[in-house]
Amino acid sequence: MLNLPIYLDNNATTPMDPRVLEAMTPYFLKHFGNAASRNHPFGWEAEEAVDYAREQVAKLIGADPKEIIFTSGATEADNLGIKGIFEMYATKGNHIITATTEHKAVLDTCKHIEKQGGEVTYLNVQPDGLIDLKELEAAIKPTTILIALMYANNEIGAVMPIKEISAIARKHGVLVFTDATQAVGKIPVDVNKDGIDLMAFTAHKMYGPKGVGALYVRRKNPRVKVTAQMDGGGHERGMRSGTLNVPGIVGFGKACEICMLDMEADTKRISKLRDKLEESLMLLEEAYVNGSREHRLPHVSNISFKHVEGEGLLMGFNKNIALSSGSACTSASLEPSYVLKALGLGDDLAHSSLRFGLSRFTTEEEIDYTIKSISDTVLKLREMSPLWEMYKEGIDLNTIEWSGH
């Protein structure tokens, strides 16, 4: 039976897998100890659980457990990774290369660094959402210490050529940081094969709990160090002080373990559903997929429906289907998504987009309902859209002098 509402906003957060919750529960009540308490069984149990989880997390990304620094989430890991490198390698240089389509946690961190005297290059992306490798290489200078590029984009799911990026970085002796929040647990990520030096990711995007994430920091070839951003008890090898979130970390570990076991089967099933959804919605006139379809996460689709406004479109079904739009019309500024704009989309298409994020728990029935619901709403709103009428009459909307407001 179809249960409403349907959740298709899994790039924002995923529901927890019941197996994860089950693993976590004892660590709230029975084994509540502080992992840093070295003198009694409560502490030992907690430490043992954290060590085990650290192994589970490390295994998923092909790392050594000692290379995992637990944090409160990906935002903190982004901050620690980028600011930590900027401070640690200050004598080597002050230049960082990133891209305009990064998450705000990376972009705002880079802006902060600029205020501290750092220099940041923001690469533009191509219409498919990927960077031009030649442009990347050309941006490297003697003062460049870090390339910070996301593994997969949160809005369009485009997967960056990380291996090629890291090969260029290595050639020039520059470190590679990647925000892999959307990628880890969904597609195979291997820090050694991919040549990653630092990587931020989080549990709640892969069926784990909120409030726990990690920064991977390479220990060999080269040995990388980051300056701590919080002072305190020197936890996590001095890189991140603060009492460990033991139940969260246990859940994170379990979520990683499940992702590793189920990834192949999940991907096969989810990508089939995503393709069905996308192909069915593309049957509507003037519908466009945003970003690369070839290099993309298997569970993501971002589609613009021309001449229909995103927020108005959501209203047609958001009681029953949870989705997000690239049109942030809720603020007075009416700013459409900066990621879509960076792809070169006009404001009209950027305002007309929907982002779909499927999950392990998405069913075919839900996808069928969604296809019907969205198609109906698009058709209804186009009947109501003056832009659609003009388009149908063959009027070029660019020739009209809009009044704005």
């Binding site: 001449h307 406004e309 209203m315 019309c329 809720t330 305002h351 009947e383 809009w402 704005g404």
Partner: protein, 139 residues
């Protein structure tokens, strides 16, 4: 953000969606907003020359639910009003009627602007001078 019941009702059952013959002398058309701002409203009125009464009103809107509701409500209010009275429709009455939150006030401003633009279009077509309105306070 939760929408008011009235906004939802207008969104689900919009009143007076459609198109009047914009070439007709007794039809005034107002097209306001811009696609890059995320809302475009087209509001049309049909006026009886002799009585000065608005006999019909239609709209089409590209925008969020509040923009659709504001224009739908505006057409309802316009029908049966004299052009003179139509000029008195103030955006804040639309805000109150639809319980629009502050971030959606611009939708009501747009509806008021569309009414004024439609009336001016009608006046111009019929050899009357355009009325000069003060610029909307909220942009």
């Amino acid at each position: 953000m939760a929408y008011s019941e009235k906004v939802i009702d207008h969104y689900q059952n919009p009143k007076n969606v459609g198109t009047l013959d914009k070439a007709s002398k007794n039809v005034g058309t107002g097209l306001v907003g811009a696609p890059e701002c995320g809302d475009v409203m087209r509001l049309q009125i049909e006026v009886n020359h002799e009585t000065g009464m608005i006999t019909d009103a239609k709209f089409k809107t590209f925008g969020c639910g509040s923009a659709i509701a504001s224009s739908s409500l505006a057409t309802e209010w316009l029908k049966g009003k004299s052009v003179e009275d139509a000029l008195k429709i103030d955006n804040m009455t639309i805000v109150e009627e639809l319980n629009l939150p502050p971030v959606k006030i611009h939708c009501s401003v747009l509806a008021e602007d569309a009414i004024k633009a439609a009336i001016n279009d009608y006046r111009e077509k019929n050899g009357m001078e355009k009325i000069k309105f003060e610029e909307s306070v909220i942009h």
